[in-house]
């Protein structure tokens, strides 16, 4: 049921996410693009879980947990960086440069 279209939609969303990561400089928006990519992957899992059993849906469950953890830590890092630099623009964030 709707396997092909779901996979195509997932591919489109994933591409949008990747393009977003490439063209944006705002660190928070970058994180949002990563969430979009994770969502696209989730859609693949759900679409295939119709044929391969419920393991796919459980995998989505784990992906969401990881996404929540990632968002929490990532945003905490952004907050910490913002305190140093007063900016979340990646251009101004070159702390890790040698």
């Amino acid at each position: 049921m709707l396997l092909g279209p779901s996979l195509a939609l997932s591919a489109t969303l994933f591409t949008i996410g990747v393009v977003g990561v490439v063209i944006r400089r705002n660190a928070i928006v970058l994180f949002m693009c990563i969430e979009l990519m994770l969502n696209a992957v989730n859609l693949t899992f759900v679409a295939l879980s119709q044929y391969h059993g419920l393991s796919g849906q459980i995998m989505v469950f784990f992906v969401m947990t990881v996404a929540a953890a990632e968002a929490a830590v990532g945003l905490a890092i952004i907050l910490a960086v913002f305190r140093h630099r007063q900016s979340v623009d990646l251009q101004n964030i070159n702390l890790l440069r040698g």
Partner: protein, 185 residues
């Protein structure tokens, strides 16, 4: 009927996704992302994954994106100049989009029959139900045990160890976030 709703929701998801990466204002971007997630939740419901749909709204829209919004508001971002990169990056973006989308979009030709033939390794497109019996079994399970009960079984039996590991991951993330965000301990 299902297809029409699917295509409407899919279009909504794609448009929201594009709007999300093109909006200058982080708050608008976050809201467009929420819209995309809503559309995806609707698609999950169409794909017979009601539980995942509810969880999607609950976790993504209700918790993660609120967290994003909270941080954006806390830093009071959103009234600044555009942060979209200049043309070299735009070109790279377009190239990546083309390079990535072309092979991935080939997936749209996938059908249950083709999936079944690839899984079984036989070149003939056979009856998908015979090869992919687990999907039908899952449907039956969902009907006999309820949508949530069907997922709970494998989650707490087959995947018990990953589940526990995830809880440790969450704990680590919580501690890490507190340590990072707190200026002085």
């Amino acid at each position: 009927m299902t297809e029409i709703v699917f295509y409407i929701l899919g279009a909504a998801a794609v448009i929201s996704g594009i709007a999300c990466i093109l909006q200058r204002n982080p708050v608008s971007a976050a809201l467009w992302l929420v819209a995309a997630m809503f559309a995806l939740a609707g698609i999950y419901v169409l794909l017979n994954a009601q539980f995942i749909g509810a969880i999607q709204v609950l976790v993504y829209a209700g918790a993660i994106m609120v967290l994003f919004l909270f941080v954006i508001m806390l830093l009071n971002l959103g009234r600044e100049t555009s942060d979209i990169r200049r043309w070299p990056a735009l070109m790279a973006g377009a190239a990546i989009a083309a390079g990535l989308a072309a092979p991935l979009l080939a997936l749209r030709l996938y059908s249950p029959a083709r999936l079944a033939s690839e899984v079984s390794g036989s070149p003939v497109f056979g009856d998908p139900g015979a090869v992919l019996s687990q999907g039908a079994a899952a449907q039956g399970l969902a009907e006999s045990q309820g949508v949530v009960g069907a997922i709970a079984g494998p989650l707490f039996q087959t995947y018990l160890v990953p589940f526990e590991v995830t809880s440790v991951l969450l704990l680590v993330a919580a501690v890490g976030a507190v340590v990072l965000a707190k200026r002085r301990l």
